[in-house]
């Protein structure tokens, strides 16, 4: 069991370093370490994330967007080891700036060759990156309805129609 865990841990750690660098930049460093390497099956897992030039003493010192990006990198690292048939993101892009949203959506596009992605969002650039959009609305108060949206037509009308 220990071997199985350590094997998975090593692979996830490699993935994490790769994904983190593609979400941040190649000059950014990160690591995933066992707090107590002598008891791998019980110890906690520590995340080190150092965006370029910065020397944060803990995850807590990172900005809101940097934290979301770091956690997302770890989730993608797990995914790469054991791809789930589908992944759902509910407004995960809310704290991200435009450049990071673009990187995030590019990774999703890449992984969508193997899995389906369902992305709930308020962000226009994320909407432009998906393959199809379902609009959710309430014509009758308190009762939800859904209909597929033609995105090109949707860009002009704005969301107010929905």
């Amino acid at each position: 069991a220990t071997e199985q865990f350590m094997d998975a841990f090593e692979k996830i750690r490699d993935n994490f370093i790769k994904v983190f660098r593609s979400l941040f930049t190649n000059d950014d460093t990160c690591d995933l370490i066992l707090e107590d390497p002598s008891s791998p099956l019980e110890t906690g897992i520590q995340i080190i994330a150092k965006p370029k030039g910065k020397r944060p003493q803990s995850l807590n010192q990172l900005s809101g967007g940097e934290k979301t990006l770091t956690a997302t990198a770890l989730l993608f690292s797990l995914y790469l080891l054991k791809p789930a048939p589908f992944c759902i993101f509910d407004e995960v892009d809310a704290p991200l700036d435009d450049a990071n949203i673009e990187k995030f959506n590019r990774i999703i596009k890449e992984f969508s060759k193997d899995s389906q992605f369902i992305v709930v969002t308020h962000n226009k650039s994320t909407m432009a990156a998906v393959d199809i959009i379902y609009g959710v609305y309430m014509d009758e108060p308190g009762v939800s309805s859904v209909s597929a949206v033609d995105f090109r037509h949707f860009e002009h009308q704005g969301l107010s129609k929905i």
Binding site: F5, D7, A8, F9, T43, G44, I45, I47, L59, K67, T68, T70, A71, T72, L74, L75, L78, Y79, L81, K82, P83, A84, P85, F86, C87, I88, F89, D90, E91, V92, A94, S112, K113, Q116, F117, I118, V119, V120, T121, T126, M127, A129, V130, D131, I132, I133, Y134, G135, V136, Y137, M138, E140, P141, G142, V143, S144, V146, A148, L159, I162
Partner: protein, 165 residues
């Protein structure tokens, strides 16, 4: 395990029978605040067997039933059905699709169905076990899971790694 469709009826704000088709690699869900987007995510978790009220944003499980408005009365039944292609043959090959349903009646009775036939939650879990889908799998990546990773509540990071191992 390609997704095909999700059908929601009487579940949270989805009073009426509603179907979404998942024919594309990346599907966006948009709409105003409070329109029901996260309720769709909840429906997927629920039909896959989620039991945690906290994860489903409920005070009690009965709150998944559409609870009525001034002009529409509440539902007696909440039903969600998630349909996949049987491309990994988790069912015998003469089945083209795998349909998982979960039902909850206002009386408190609940039911699971596999391709329309009543079964136990256990049967569904066994079926899904090696596919990487379960209501706690990291496949469901809401903003909340980002927090779990960052705060490492109850060793959530190590549990996620163990799940992937």
């Amino acid at each position: 395990m390609k997704l095909k469709s999700l059908e929601i009826k009487g579940f949270k704000s989805f009073a009426q029978d509603t179907v979404l088709y998942f024919s594309e690699p990346v599907i966006g869900i948009v709409g105003p605040n409070g329109s029901g987007k996260s309720n769709i995510v909840d429906a997927i978790r629920w039909v896959l067997g989620e039991q945690s009220n906290r994860e489903l944003r409920l005070d009690q499980m009965a709150n998944v039933l559409f609870n009525g408005t001034k002009s529409k009365k509440s539902s007696g039944l909440a039903q969600v059905t998630l349909t996949f292609e049987n491309d990994k043959n988790i069912l015998p090959t003469d089945y083209a699709n795998v349909s998982i349903s979960r039902l909850l009646y206002r009386s408190g009775e609940s039911e699971y169905r596999l391709n329309g036939v009543a079964c136990r939650l256990k049967d569904i879990n066994n079926l899904l076990m090696d596919t990487g889908i379960s209501s706690e799998s990291y496949a469901i990546i809401a903003l909340g899971m980002v927090d779990d990773i960052l705060l490492d509540k109850e060793n959530s990071r190590r549990r996620m790694i163990e799940q992937a191992a």
